[in-house]
Subunit: 314 residues, 4 copies
């Protein structure tokens, strides 16, 4: 890496990069490179690989390695690359931290432990241990829908104050708690440069108005230009334009609901729609999602296409 992850670089639009698969369920490296170009070309500020939108929960270690190596090599320091180190508890997560940083990730993103039942004091030890072992900054990933724990603001800020956390990606959907975190971080004199990013695709204008540093939108795979315009309008204080752009993206986001809940889980529906859209837009070669996810039907893919068309993306 020639380009350090300075504080300043970890703001803006940082899409969680989908992982294109071949029909044989291997990583489609060519499509992944095209996807990175698609995102970088739109002007995003960073890339987040091996998160939930990347299907990290499904990807075997060899796939994870391919993903991070491919993306790091391709961006060649032009953009910071954050990498998820998603696993159940500290020692296993540690191995992923080692792997992604060896591959060149500029920062790692770590959830609270899951599968196990942990006490807040144990969550603190978890992050502290990983931060001590990581050669790059650690971001907390607040994702209660997956790990069934909400990271409290005081826990995060205590870790920030001791230098163990560089920031947080908040995908909790709890905007009240998000604002409390932002205000508490600002009020503390012992914390500087702590980055607060939102993963909530539908309320980016609100989050930025509240003071968030950036956004990690899954839908940004499909329409990165939209999120870049949204971010730019917010930073310029042009809230009317921001709201219009955000509402256009909200309409586009409805593609995540085309997969019938009677047939598939929420992950399958959302990731299936993102990948179908990327396929329809010509970015990736195959829309398959990982096993055991149910694939969208041709009719459902047709619905995704209508949302793209309505948004001017086809």
């Amino acid at each position: 890496m020639t380009r350090p992850t300075s504080e300043a670089s970890l703001t803006g639009v940082v899409p969680p990069v989908c992982t294109p698969l071949t029909p044989e369920h291997e990583v489609d490296v060519g499509s992944l490179v095209r996807l990175v170009d698609h995102l970088a070309g739109a002007g995003v500020d960073g890339l987040f690989v091996l998160g939930s939108s990347s299907e990290a929960a499904y990807l075997p270690d060899r796939h994870r390695r391919t993903v991070v190596e491919t993306v790091v090599a391709h961006v060649a320091g032009q953009l910071p690359v954050l990498a998820g180190a998603i696993d159940m508890a500290t020692p296993r997560v540690r191995d992923h931290v080692d792997a992604v940083t060896a591959a060149g990730a500029d920062a790692v993103v770590v959830t609270a432990p899951f599968y196990t039942r942990t006490h807040p004091a144990e969550i603190v030890t978890h992050f502290r241990t990983l931060a001590a072992a990581s050669p790059v900054p650690v971001f907390a990933y607040d994702l209660p829908v997956s790990v069934h724990t909400k990271l409290p603001a005081d826990l995060l800020l205590g870790l920030a104050a001791e230098g163990a956390l560089a920031g947080v990606k908040d995908s909790s959907g709890d905007e009240g708690a998000f604002r409390e975190l932002l205000l508490a971080a600002r009020a503390r004199t012992d914390i500087t440069g702590f980055r607060v990013l939102t993963g909530a695709e539908l309320t980016v204008d609100a989050a930025l108005a509240m003071g968030a540093d950036g956004v990690v939108p899954g839908l940004g795979n499909v329409d990165p230009e939209g999120y870049v315009r949204l971010y730019t309008a917010c930073r310029a204080g042009d809230w009317d334009r921001a709201r219009a752009e955000q509402e256009r993206l909200c309409a586009l986001f409805r593609m995540t609901g085309v997969g019938a809940p009677s047939r598939m889980g929420g992950s399958s529906s959302a990731l299936g729609a993102f990948k179908a859209a990327l396929h329809l837009r010509g970015v990736i070669a195959c829309p398959a999602t990982a096993v055991p996810q149910v694939q969208l039907s041709p009719e459902e893919v047709g619905e995704v296409g209508k949302y793209l068309a309505a948004a001017g993306l086809l």
Copy 2:
């Protein structure tokens, strides 16, 4: 493998084997071998490694490999060895299935996907895919406290009927649903040899009276003789003796509550007590649990000792 996992062998007492660690948090192979001898010497019917009581959620892959290789080599076919393949979703679980079966496990134990949000149809695909890939029988691990999904009886039995599942370890704590599963399995003519094991330490006599095939008791690490006596009494229909033995074990189980909930999570308290007891009994060299679990205080270890003494185990 010289000894096939016949249907008959997967009954009885099958303790989930704790994973002894050194103070440096490596697998303590010598202690693990002693623990296996401690269990085998008590007359247990099988061993389950790399489950929740083994701290599988914490163990890095290299530790998991050491555990299964050590235990398989040491028992040398004298007891069936079941191995957990605990990970988030199908492709990652697949790698663990490959690893533990390459190391000689007689059967694999697999949960529903977690971290992701899955539909029942996806859970079916998950088990079906893994069964097709596994050279040994697959047991479902019903553990809602960890994976936040309860496996429905009709899902399990449909998979059993098609040969994808050899049995289930039920750690749901839902004894009504457990009995419905047992009765439904018995009523179906298209299912034979489906093994239903309970992970509920406190209601083994009840589960066996209902028709369960065996028990996978975490507390069995501490007092395997007790569970063997309990199982034997139940099989003999001596319910008074079974009840007395079970109640003695219930009293012993209270050791899992010595760790203060204000200081640690439920895993730390239960696994910490089991390991402290094994250490006090001279079976393992060090009672450490994996990071980030809080360790029992000396006073709490003293409480564990009192429970052992009261149970005649010191």
Copy 3:
């Protein structure tokens, strides 16, 4: 009241009495009286009105009053009558305690607060306040599926020791915790006569083997003789006969699943089946359940009939 609720009377089979409604959704007093006779004639040991199986959550106060007055008057002291005082928090529950005891209930049954978020210390105050206000014994109703709080054993036994609780109806479905409660109650020398009743229809033999004092089975509306036989067999220590009777009742209980989950909630399906069965057996005049519950379809009622026939009840 001419007949005190002695300790001895609150054991055995105490069905939670369904509330028959007219097609106009008034309480059908004639059917209620017939239902009471149906239960009393089968030899049950007590009656529990205004619980969940009585649709207490739906019944307006005037209906609740009619129910308790009707049942108390009709049994005329020949059986103890427990009455639910189901409402959100202490002052509202207090009014129901006053109402049902004015109407002659021999004991009241009270849940933890719901709708509000309460601390264990507040739950203690809740029960303590109501016990101080009640002229009759108070039973705790442990029903996490409805109130989203599990009552811990130490909380219950602390209240028992100070005389605030006479017993508990455990509908938690957590048989491990149930056994811990039973053993803890037995171990305490400061508690006498604390009654532990299970609401779990499918594991009555197990609960009685563990030491439970009685059972409050919703299915007991449909087949009270079955539960009386089951209880008698358990008390006689004839566990084989008990198991056979329990398994027959488990098969009958499957009627609660005939209502399609795609069309209705779990309450509608279970209560709808109980009322359909009572109607088919000629006990009540109309099988209607309260608004907004979805009614069973004719086909689903037909399925209920098949379960009755298979159990020899038609």
Copy 4:
């Protein structure tokens, strides 16, 4: 009532009015009237009585009646009065609808059923039945933290389209879903005048920017002028001023955390702080909250006072 609840009137700031109690736990009518004057004098647009902030879960029917009669009489048509009809299921809620509308409420506010397990089709029947019975408009109250059901947007809008719902008070804290609701409502041509109010005190500026019609802030009891200024700034499009006012209110809101979670539940802490603040500000005579809530300690009340002072409210 001489003043109809026109669509136009149900926008703006509509505080959920706390219910002052005497030390003997009766409704303190004098304090309630002063609180209404305090709110009306600040320029609020309506009042919501008998909601969660009013401790409706605790108030006996006679207290509920006193509250609604007192407030309706005192405002004398100068402000619309919405009244909660909080109870478990339809027939019981119906009685509260009758009671509060007989007392003159301009609209009723109704949650999904709770305590029971309901299907979405049953929730639709619930609202439809109550709307048919109510002489005034019905608002849905989306409060998953209390009723454990999130009201889906399509369910709400279907009921709006058929005239059964006049609006929704959204206290779900799910701002993404809130925005989807707002956009879906706007997109439907078969719905007019459906009012969407947020109960989220910390994100009012965001909600109004998204298009919400109004706000129902519990903290508005303490600082109604603040919320009126905030609303006014938002309506004027002065987002910088709005943000500053909102952040001042966020700082004030931290008073809800002074009650120690180790001693009391979340309701006790929040409602205790609001009432302590109203007492310190001289609006109500006694800060007591209803049984079984734990009262704030003198030190905790002192902390509340510091927040008031910091906000310039003492």
